[in-house]
Amino acid sequence: MKALGFGLALAAFAGGAGAAELGAVDEPIKLAVNEWTGQHVTTRIAGEMLRAAGYKVEYVTAGYMNMFQAIADGEIDAALELWSSNVSDDYAKKVAEGTIVELGDLGLDAREGIAYPAHVADLCPGLPDWQALKNCAQVFATAETIPQGRLVDYPADWGTPGADRMKGLGLPFKAVPAGSEGALIAELRASTERKSPLLITFWQPHWAMSAYDVKFVDLPKAEDACFTDPAWGPNPNEVNDCDFAASRIFKGAWAGMKDKWPAAFEILSNYTLSVEDQQPLMGAIDVDGGSLEEVVAKWMAENESKWRPVVDAATK
């Protein structure tokens, strides 16, 4: 899937150098708005760029896991923040079918890992070194996992990367899948309020990383061999005995978009956003209570040099 995705992304870049036709400017381009604030920021900026280019834009709320049928049908035209670590199998199917095309990387530098709120370092001395976890499993033990420690893993439909790490590294932890992102956040919140132990599979950029002062455990650096060759890494008998492979965050669109709105397709293909830009905006919304529209409008006005060239390259 990945290789195919890259191929398509390259094709998109190759096809979209220089100015393009605007296409059907009277019909609104529908962008997916999913369930998390970072994605709202990413999408809103892209939408405002399309507006600056002369398009009509409609923001459509869509469940992240269930939107790919809609993109394939052209009922949603683009989704701008897809995480390789957590993308529905349906996406790969639709890309293979040719109804969805990838638009290349968003440029957000994502990181996933085994994490803990900062106060946990006092409960398990030696953190962030992963070796420390070998000796303090009891600290993390609960009724469901005793005598092993408890690791709160991703919801089951996102895969079981936490459980794979524990097995690979031979750590005495049992992974308990959360039911939803809300359950992960509630765990972080309760642990921070109560100063209780917590080990959790988590990712950034995410507003909770700073809100709950979340730190990553230092695991052996990931290499391709780690996931295929048991001999690699600290545990000679298992694969997955290393940190998470870097996850990609990319953009996807309805296959028909390229012909219907050629310039918009090019703008979205070349659109990138960095963690340094996205994270403060998330904070301004989730922590300081600003509205998405105002926060993004302010950023767009102050950072025109970051986005205007992409719009101009496609339209002039």
Binding site: T61, N66, S88, A143, G182, S196
Partner: protein
């Protein structure tokens, strides 16, 4: 092991029930005895399962492809009324909407109803969720008529062609017990993305109450009325529409009311797909951030709608008297006048957030409470996990460990447990209560093994025995047949986990709800306090309560157990109270006259009289517990609920429908069993 001791009873106590219990006991003992030699007795081997989920996926996929063009046409057509309703509600200035609801309230129920409408809608305005709320109302405004038409047609057809009644009942059961999440993916493929899917999902769920009430209403028409219509020489259609339906209108209005409530409760479920910026989506967004205060606020908006719609449509169904329409027009005129005079100077509806500080305070309070009380909360959780839930799930032999109970479980202890149970059983048999003794022995076996590890032959034989007792051979065969499909599809383990979790919750609800119901029946003050809590628990989107439960007790079975109980306990309370207070007054007078004490009246008159009603309450509690399993999966459980979510995330139609069907099968069998026993009790009481 201990089976021989169970075969001691003398022939005179061999009632059918005792024989059935003996067979179950024998099946259990045999399975346990054979386990070491034949492990397949306990765990159904993977190679015996059929790739049923694959077949279902392929079959349904083919069917969907075939139906898709027609469905897409239908969904395109539905977009029009949806758009109109949305435009009408969204573009109408908020004073006019509030004025209109207040005016309708006045017309239907006078001052109290008008006040309810006004205060309710003002709350919605103050919450800052006005535009989302109007979107939600638009959805309900289109889906309910759809549900009413579908339900009405189904009901009338079932009434006209009595042979259709049994299959119609099954279809209605399926529509109500298969969790909506299980068929969202096929609906998405069929009808395309957007609010139309939510609309159809909520119409599917809201149609059965209408159909059931139409059937009931038409059945209950007195024969004189029918005969008069026949004698007047009117054609069948005229008889139906001019005589029968009007005479059944009271019951049909109950159906309308139930249908409205069902549609509203489904709004939040439909929001999972998105496509529509409605109040359900807001609840999901705030739930995702674990913001309890905000999600409670959004949830209360739905409660307000539910209460207003329930009371007004209830008045429409029961109250014949209408209030002066001139005042209603006056109110509406005043609102329109206000809107016109202030015009563009009216503050933006979404600009209100008067309640945000309150929501923040609730949220902070939750955090502080968790911080201050974490230790004893964790103590409760560990206690219940170690001593109740874990033994129920994996049995005493695996749950009793040095770090849970302080000692390890040994085979000798198993022997002692069985010996004690057998001894007690013998005592009970000797005293003529063979049934109770055998049930005790079976219970000891289940506790030793754990529900999740029960051998499948034992479960099948047990279900057959219960089915036979409750409804004869047909129900027994049906139960075994349906359970076998779960076994063959490979979802058995997950089904047992779901059975364990909902079983534990139903048990707790039966005891707790029964006691609260009893208390509320004895003291009207208690009922005044309990009733609004029950109302709220039934109408608020339960997602909201997952956050505090998670904060207090973290991810795990105990949290899921609590969440299920919070929802499923309500019918038990309501029905227990209702059963206990509806003893016929002449019987009560006779009892009082004969000098019985209050306690004697309760034990010997009210309780037996209430038994069928309480059993129906138990039945509802079971159905609610299964319905809640899917929501509880958002906490993190491992049963069928999790499979349904997995399937939704992967757009796996086969797995979703199979897991949904397995859940519906469990609910269906429990429902038929309890109803069978309730019918038997009613016969025994001569009702």
């Amino acid at each position: 092991m201990t089976a021989p001791s169970g075969q001691a009873p003398a022939p005179r106590v061999l009632t059918p029930g005792v024989r059935a219990a003996l067979i179950v006991l024998l099946a259990g003992a045999l399975s346990l005895a054979l386990e070491p030699a034949f492990p397949w007795v306990v765990t159904w081997p993977a190679e015996w399962t059929l790739p049923a989920t694959q077949w279902v996926g392929d079959g349904v996929g083919w069917l969907l492809g075939w139906l898709k063009p027609a469905a897409r046409l239908f969904s395109d057509l539905l977009r029009y009324p949806m758009g109109w309703a949305d435009l009408a509600l969204g573009a109408t200035p908020w004073p006019v909407v509030i004025g209109a609801v207040t005016a309708i309230g006045w017309y239907l129920g006078g001052l109290p109803m008008a006040a309810l409408g006004f205060v309710g809608l003002s709350f919605v305005l103050a919450s800052g969720y006005w535009s989302q709320s109007m979107n939600t109302l638009a959805l309900v405004a289109v889906s309910v008529p759809l549900a009413l038409i579908a339900g009405g047609v189904i009901g009338i057809l079932a009434n006209e062609f009595p042979r259709l009644k049994p299959p119609v009942q099954v279809v209605l059961d399926v529509m109500q017990t298969v969790p909506t999440f299980a068929y969202l993916t096929p609906l998405l493929i069929l009808f395309g993305f957007g609010p139309v899917v939510g609309l159809i999902a909520s119409a599917i769920y809201a149609a059965p109450p209408m159909a059931r009430n139409v059937i009931l209403g038409l059945e209950r028409i007195e024969s004189e009325i029918r005969e008069a219509a026949v004698m007047s020489g009117a054609g069948r259609l005229r008889q139906l529409f001019e005589v029968e339906i009007p005479s059944a209108s009271a019951q049909i209005m109950v159906g309308v009311n139930q249908s409205l409530m069902a549609a509203l409760s489904m709004v939040i479920i439909a929001a999972v797909i998105g496509g529509f910026d409605d109040i359900g989506w807001e609840v999901l967004l705030t739930m995702r951030k674990a913001q309890f205060g905000q999600s409670l606020l959004a949830g209360l908006v739905i409660v307000v709608f539910a209460v207003v719609i329930d009371r007004m449509s209830g008045a429409l169904a029961t109250e014949r008297r209408r209030h002066d329409p001139r005042i209603a027009y006056g109110l509406l005129g005043l609102a329109v006048g206000l809107a016109v005079v202030f015009g563009a100077r009216l503050p933006e509806a979404s600009g209100f957030d008067l309640l945000a500080p309150l929501a923040d305070a609730v949220d902070r309070g939750l955090g502080e409470f968790t911080a201050a009380n974490g230790d004893w909360l964790a103590g409760i959780k560990n206690g219940v996990m170690f001593f109740v839930l874990l033994p129920l799930r994996i049995g005493l032999d695996q749950a009793v460990l040095p770090f849970t109970w302080g000692f390890a479980w040994t085979p000798a202890m198993s022997g002692a447990l069985f010996a004690a149970a057998a001894l007690l059983c013998l005592v009970l048999v000797w005293r003529g209560r063979a049934m109770a003794g055998l049930m005790l022995l079976i219970g000891a076996g289940v506790l030793e093994t754990g529900i999740a590890n029960l051998p499948w032959p034992f479960v099948l034989v047990g279900a057959a025995a219960l089915g036979w007792m409750a409804g004869g051979w047909r129900l027994a065969a049906l139960s075994v047949g349906l359970l076998s499909t779960i076994l063959l599809s490979g979802l058995w383990e997950r089904a047992l986990l779901s059975l364990y979790l909902s079983g534990a919750a139903v048990l707790a609800c039966a005891v707790l709800g029964g006691l609260i119901g009893l208390w509320a029946a004895l003291s009207p003050t208690v009922w005044r306090l309990v009733r609004p809590v029950c109302d709220m628990l039934q109408t608020i989107p339960l997602f909201v309560f997952l956050i505090p439960v998670l904060m207090f007790f973290q991810i795990g079975e105990f949290s899921a157990f609590l969440a299920i109980c919070a929802y499923a306990v309500v019918p038990m309370i309501r029905y227990t109270r209702h059963g206990l207070i509806s003893t016929p007054p002449e019987l009560l007078e006779a009892a009082v006259a004969s000098g019985a004490t209050n306690w004697q009246i309760l034990r010997d008159l009210r309780a037996p009289w209430a038994a069928p009603t309480i059993l129906l309450g138990l039945n509802q509690t079971i159905l609610y517990a299964f319905a809640m399993l899917v929501i509880a999966a958002l906490i993190g459980t491992t049963g069928l609920g999790q499979s349904i979510y997995l399937a939704l995330g992967r757009a796996d139609v086969g797995l979703g429908l199979s897991a949904g069907a397995a859940m519906a099968i469990l609910a269906f069998i429990s429902d038929r069993l309890v109803q069978g026993f309730a019918a038997e009790r009613r016969r025994a009481l001569g009702l």
